[in-house]
Amino acid sequence: MAQASMASVQAVSVPKGGLAHETRAALVVWEREMIRFSRDPARVISSIVQPLLFLFVLGGGLGSLVQAGTGGVDFKTFLFPGVLSMSVLFTAAFAGISMVWDREFGFLREMLVAPVSTTAILTGKCLGGASVATIQSLVVLALAGLVGVPYDPLMILELVVLLFIMSFMITALGLILASRVKQVQSAMPLVQMIITPLMFLSGALFPLSNLPGWLTVVTHINPMTYAVEPVRSAVFDRLAMSPEARAILDPGIWWGSYQVSVLVQVALVVVAALLLLWGAVKLFNRTE
């Protein structure tokens, strides 16, 4: 060990790697996302506008039209879980794709030349994206009372956890896109192109009952469906609603005659999230 002979020098030692070091690295990547988020309040507002338009404008506008078919449930109430999911989608996808900007401005290099694994860095990024998206969704969650959803503490806790897992998955998906996209200009259109269909085909905006055959197939292979459905269950469990209305609005997910339980749905989303993260790590290791 070189003796730090100059009195003024505070030489520091850098310990060998290991899980503790990897965790610190992931946490500081997460912290950076949080710092950047806190510096940019406009981001919260701009990403909340679209979900609110869906909830109040689409929900209000179509409400009278579909009232007959909802078993007396306000269409806005029906839309609420879907809009809640929507509110995290774009934010989380953006958090992932922001790696394209990190590459453009050189910061990706600072991260990737550090003596830590790519897994630690990308995990930190996913945790950051999930945290930011979940915090933003609280704004929508705060409006629950306006559409007849009670402020049940346990429901709110469940929703926060579910939205966090969903956001983690979507951030990982954003990272996969970011590994392939080299140009900043292409990043946002690509997110739109991928995320919009994922949202529309997830049952966020319509019930999964009585769909045309092709739409049934597509919604059932979309991982987002399995992320949105638990959110809807958590909300609908707290509503006073006739069994008939529930059957129409929230028929659950069926694989043939097997009804997929909420726990299995959540487990599927967790597996999908980890697979996407694993894929992103592989892609970043190969291309950067």
Partner: protein, 331 residues
Amino acid sequence: MNVSSGVTPAVEVRGLTKTFKTVEAVKGIDLTVYPGETFGFLGPNGAGKSTTIKILCTLADATSGTARVAGYDVAKERDAVRRSIGLVFQEPTLDGYLTAEQNLRFHGELYGVERISAAARRKEVLDMVGLTERRNDLVNNFSGGMRRRLEIARGLLHSPKVLFLDEPTIGLDPQTRASIWQYLNELHAREEITVFVTTHYMDEAENCDRIAIIDQGKIVALDTPAALKAAIGKDRVQIATADDAAAIAALKSVFGLEAQMVEGLVTFGVPEGAQFVPRLFEKLGVAIRSVAVHRPSLDDVFLAHTGTSLRDAEAMGSKFNPMAAARGGRR
């Protein structure tokens, strides 16, 4: 300290090559850098400088050959190498939306710097580059020179054994360049560190203990700046004449000197140039409009070893690379 024996070299490269598809960027490099040296790596753009430094920093794989940094093999002990080196790249790698202090904190956590000493170390490196008062400002509000200083501070944060700087002064004004070199020179007084720096500014290379000149993927000279200049043994004389072709012919026939056009001037080397000038006026037979005599500089060393002045090499490169032209305006 006898640097040549019993000490693990800071950098040790043997038979290093790198081939991109069909292009041989690095054609077999050997070099040894001793602990505590400031080692300069000189060459025009495209000479293989950046490729070599990337291999040394574990950012690229060599096609063949070996390289050890701080005693660790760059291919087999990647993380150990990374813990032992500090990096300052040509391109900025700071987060402009974080403060200077936050950028350093981020780096310290990524490198696993012990928490107990991390804050003191951050303060110290900020002091060293004179940014303590601006530590809570967003990096986006920093000038180019300040950013580069912060990058140097960050490169030193985890007490690396070797600090790699790839063109650390590129795109900076002369005054800022001078101040960056002042920090680098002061470093040795404060830290036990080896500095490995690439540059294509010859005046900056004078700051190095030893320099290697790389041209077309090979090291063509390696020694102290003084020894390299002494080895030239000639002064450089540059003249502007009424008829350059006739002047070159006359230099050959009258004095037996090989002259060539460099930077638009008839240029040749001659021992004791100042004494030669009167004879030149007397016997050349071509009207001379101006004359300049230079003691040998590293530019001449470069010219002697590569057959082209660095500035001309830059100009040639700039036809293909507009960025090089933008950076080329030196002196």
